[in-house]
């Protein structure tokens, strides 16, 4: 008899629990400050048990990114495939990301910042990377389309992309509080940045 469905689910649930614990520890101790012992304690397992579910610390790390980027990608698909114009789609996507990021701030801060801190020989095809690249490609495409349709200011799209990305990250992750920023705020500032003053 092979493993039952319930067993699979419980196993997945335990993995989730470990990832959550890891996220908590990463948040308080930083990426390198976090130890497997602490993650084990935080998630309520013995250290050796962690290695029964994840082959290495790095895999715990990537597990968080995988889960996060996959979920984000899936939750955005309807917006991506909607047939609104580039500008509206672009803004909708960013606002949706912002909302999710504020609901799960730790996770998203990790997703957006942690990858920079990796120096490992990282040629391997991580799932999360492809999702991240896909998302960035979509956004970049919308930006290009929007610019060529005169919906955005006529500026180099790479530059715009950096600027918007920075603004976005700044709004959501700068400072400690996260209560003061509404979807409306983000929309307002995005509009401010991407409204072409030469258009009526």
């Amino acid at each position: 008899m092979s493993i039952s469905e319930r067993q699979k689910e419980e196993r997945a649930l335990r993995k989730e629990r470990i990832l959550s614990g890891a996220l908590t520890v990463f948040k308080t101790k930083g990426l390198d400050g976090a130890t497997m012992d602490e993650i084990a304690a935080e998630s309520g397992f013995g250290k050796a048990t962690l290695y029964y579910y994840f082959p290495s610390k790095e895999d715990v790390f990537c597990g968080i990114l995988d889960r996060g980027w996959t979920q984000l990608w899936e939750s955005l698909e309807e917006d991506i495939h909607s047939d609104t114009g580039p500008r509206e789609t672009f803004i909708n996507i960013l606002i949706k990301i912002a909302k999710k990021a504020q609901q799960n701030r730790n996770e998203y801060e990790f997703m957006f910042n942690a990858p920079k801190a990796i120096s490992n020989i990282d040629d391997s095809d991580q799932d999360w990377k492809s999702y991240q690249h896909q998302l960035y490609a979509i956004l970049k495409g919308l930006l290009d389309d929007g610019i060529s349709q005169g919906q955005f200011p006529k500026l180099d799209s790479n530059l715009m992309f950096k600027a918007i990305g920075g603004l976005f990250v700044g709004l959501i992750f700068m400072g400690e509080k996260n209560k003061d920023i509404t979807g409306g705020d983000i929309e307002k500032l995005l509009n401010q940045l991407i409204t072409d003053p030469t258009q009526p």
Copy 2:
């Protein structure tokens, strides 16, 4: 006979050399990936010699921040005390920082990003922190003044500050290349973000 002026200078020069080497290693290996042995090798000293100049790894780290923020603060003083209006002063300061940051990208990336990664019991009065806070306070003040004078959009200044800070960091540190961004680009995007459309 106490130590001569030249001796002091040479000692300071050796400290500089160590800080530069440290910056190089930090850049390639990351903050926690960098070891004192590597920093020693990179800067051309034996490890023990490093400890003759800096009491700990953390002090090397803070040495970089101290030097950077102090120099930045000093180089900005004339702009800060100029009597141009808040908007112009604000933009001048940001453009000057951007220029310096692009000339010494490693150093400034470190200055802007490294502090987040510190989790140490950091109550101690680090010089660099006061410079950083002063600079942020000045910028925040200019923003407040500018808003109340109608030179900026009427938005919450904390929000604006986050947005501008993010945009700035995004423009300068996102991606790998740093050649494509001119002072003009930065000015253009800043203007885009901080121009009140309701004003003539």
